[in-house]
């Protein structure tokens, strides 16, 4: 099956009202210094995505470098264990570098090269986006600097080493909560300082316009393939699509191509941390209110004074107080439903997938798996559920071992 280039997407109704807005959400809340760079990026991306040479290069590398299309896998053992609806996995864990992040890093890396920007910066939480960006930069011959919260440098050590092997410089960020949020702050400060020669490859559907749209477009390859594969392998569309939500890129990537299919339920799973009721979590759609962080208006975890709250999650990739603005719009408009799974639930989901299917998932993904197993159990066996298996779990082995009381 051929992959489909990013240029084929249709604008959503929300976007049609004003570019970069999803209902009231989105926008460009950044220092003036960056506004001209965003305008340049909007123009360059718009030209690139309509340029057959650009999309052909993307499609070829998506096939030969990333290994697309990734399979749609019928998880029969997990299905039997859950005892309800049929569970399928979209196997983004099989993409090169082990997660969906590379779909976006490749697209933005090609755009940076086309714009003549040779210095790339990125932020990373779990390290998957950092690794994906470092990989693309190595392949394209671009300089790569990755900002990573100090806490994440420790809990995702294997990915730090991978980035270094790939020639990237990893800069630990010591401010604030020393996680993904602070890594984005530091990347923005770098971009403000070096905007003339630097391209910022953002790793999720967050940030100022055009990032939420552009990242969603590059990640939509997941949903387009899933749609075609469902029709080809199952003969119909799924009844529900489930994905974990950190910034929301793997979720929006698989959701968006189904947004005009009302029979397909879209369910996003946030990180419940110690439990949403404890306040120690990373679930802004479940328990936040709209606010501005990192360039966009979206649901945000904040206190009564508008200060951003520290988040808690076993998973570095979901440990973020904000979320992509299009998800906020999907929530308010009712197009998608958002739920939370806590750390303990995610660990159970992690073990469940290892034992039933022989797949070790990323801890981020494990949140979606845990909810999918519960949801499947409540649905008839005639229904089809697709879970975005966003990444593999090698990076998380030490975190899981510690939680299970095992010394490696």
């Amino acid at each position: 099956m051929a992959t489909v280039s990013p240029s084929t997407r249709a604008a959503t109704p929300a976007e049609a009202t004003r570019p970069g807005r999803f209902g009231p959400y989105g926008g460009q809340f950044v220092p003036e210094t960056l506004m001209p760079a965003l305008a340049e990026l909007i123009d360059a991306y718009d030209v690139a995505r309509h340029d057959p040479a650009f999309t052909a290069t993307y499609d070829t590398l998506a096939r030969d470098f990333i290994g697309r299309p990734t399979p749609l896998y019928h998880a029969t053992k997990l299905t039997a264990r859950a005892g309800g609806a049929q569970v399928y996995f979209k196997r983004e864990d099989l993409a090169h570098t082990g997660a969906h992040k590379i779909n976006n890093a490749l697209g933005q890396g090609l755009l940076a090269r086309r714009m003549g920007k040779e210095r790339i910066i990125a932020e990373t939480g779990a390290g998957q986006h950092g690794v994906a960006t470092a990989t693309v930069c190595a392949m394209l011959g671009l300089e790569c600097i990755v900002y990573m919260g100090e806490q994440d440098v420790h809990r995702q050590a294997p990915n730090v080493f991978r980035m270094k092997l790939l020639g990237a410089e990893v800069r630990p960020v010591k401010s604030g909560s020393r996680t993904l949020k602070d890594a984005i702050n530091e990347a923005i400060r770098d971009w403000v300082t070096n905007v003339n020669d630097t391209f910022y490859i953002i790793g999720s559907v967050v940030g100022p316009h055009p990032y939420p749209t552009m990242v969603r477009d590059f990640q939509s390859v997941i949903g387009r393939e899933t749609r075609e594969q469902s029709l080809a392998q199952i003969g119909r569309l799924p009844d529900a699509v489930i994905a974990c939500v950190g910034g929301g890129s793997n979720a929006m990537g698989i959701f968006h191509p189904f947004h005009a299919d009302p029979s397909v339920r879209l369910i996003g799973v946030e990180a419940g941390g110690d439990g949403v009721s404890t306040g120690r979590h990373a679930a802004p759609l479940s328990a936040g209110r709209p606010g501005v962080l990192h360039g966009a208006l979206s649901y945000l975890m904040q206190d009564g004074d508008g200060q951003v709250i520290e988040t808690h999650s076993i998973s570095a990739g979901l440990d973020y107080p904000g979320v992509g603005p299009e998800h906020s719009w999907y929530k308010d408009s009712g197009r998608a439903t958002y739920v939370a799974v806590d750390d303990a639930g995610a660990l159970a989901g992690f073990e469940l997938l290892c034992q039933t299917e022989g797949i070790i998932p990323a801890l981020e993904t494990a949140h979606a798996i845990a909810y999918a197993a519960e949801y499947a159990a409540s649905r008839p066996s005639s229904e089809i559920i697709v879970v975005n298996c966003s990444g593999r779990g090698d990076k998380d082995l030490s975190t899981v071992a510690t939680r299970l009381g095992v010394t490696l």
Partner: protein
């Protein structure tokens, strides 16, 4: 929309007009609310004014200060640890006004604390407290209509930043919305003291000048008397922020009044061309 600056002469406008008529340069100083303590600005703002600052920016601390370098980041985090909030910043202004401070007081706040309070409510509370202007470093002109409307209604100046990267059409659009003065970011970067100011500053300021008659205030990196001196004749005001916090970090709190007054004097002399 919002292309008509307020008709009244604000306290900011009057202060800068006075300097322009006298052919002198105004100085804008800085305090982060809550640094090093919640009470400290009550004595340090008067010290800055005594020493020769004409307008004071009051930094409302925020958890995610993206446009700030390490100095103001540290002050901001410490201020949050001290419990500083937007409400406390408003209280501080009330206290300063009741102490008889008449200099223009300008809030510098990231957008979310303002949005969280509600634009209308912020405008009313700020004007009752005695705030004269608001600078929002993460709110570009495109996103500012609602805020300008709310602040115009209570006579608070919405102050915009321009940067060396701002192209001419944007300069025109920003100048049309600007109230009070135009905050000219001196360099491509975040806040923080620098060794030297960019050498192309005169051309950049001339470019901004060609789009507006509003006063031009230059900030980011302005940290030494010689920087201030170099702005004479090309800017209406110099903004000094991180350098003040640097001084405070390197001296014991009980000397801050003295330190800031003498630092302000050295900058005032530089602004006046007195050596």
């Amino acid at each position: 929309m919002n292309n008509q600056p307020a008709q009244h002469q604000s306290r900011i406008g009057a202060t800068l007009a006075r300097h322009r008529e006298a052919g002198t340069m105004a100085l804008v100083g800085w305090q982060t609310i809550g640094f090093p303590t919640i009470e400290s600005s009550r004595t340090l703002v008067p010290a800055l004014i005594d020493g020769g600052f004409d307008l004071i920016e009051l930094g409302v601390p925020f958890s995610d200060p993206q446009a700030d370098g390490t100095t103001i980041q540290r002050a901001s985090f410490e201020a949050l640890r001290q419990g500083a909030t937007l409400s406390i910043a408003l209280d501080t202004v009330r206290i300063l006004r009741s102490d008889g401070i008449t200099a223009p007081l300008i809030f510098m706040s990231y957008y979310n604390p303002i949005l969280s309070r509600g634009l209308e409510r912020f405008a009313i509370d700020a004007s009752e407290a005695g705030v004269d202007g608001l600078i929002v470093p993460d709110l570009p002109a495109e996103e500012s209509d609602a805020l300008i409307d709310a602040l115009d209604r209570v006579g608070i100046d919405t102050i915009f930043l321009v940067a060396p990267t701002t192209p001419q059409p944007r300069l025109r659009a920003i100048a049309a919305r600007a109230r009070g003065f135009i905050y000219c970011v001196s360099l491509t970067g975040v806040t923080g003291a620098r060794q030297a100011l960019p050498s192309d500053l005169p051309e950049y300021l001339a470019r901004v000048r060609s789009f507006t008659n509003l006063p031009l205030a230059v900030g980011f990196g302005v940290s030494r008397p010689e920087h201030v001196a170099s702005l004479r004749g090309i800017a209406d005001a110099a903004i000094v922020a991180s350098a003040i916090i640097d001084r405070m970090e390197h001296t014991p709190p009980e000397t801050h009044v003295q330190e800031l007054r003498s630092f302000a004097k050295s900058l005032r002399n530089a602004a006046d061309g007195v050596s």
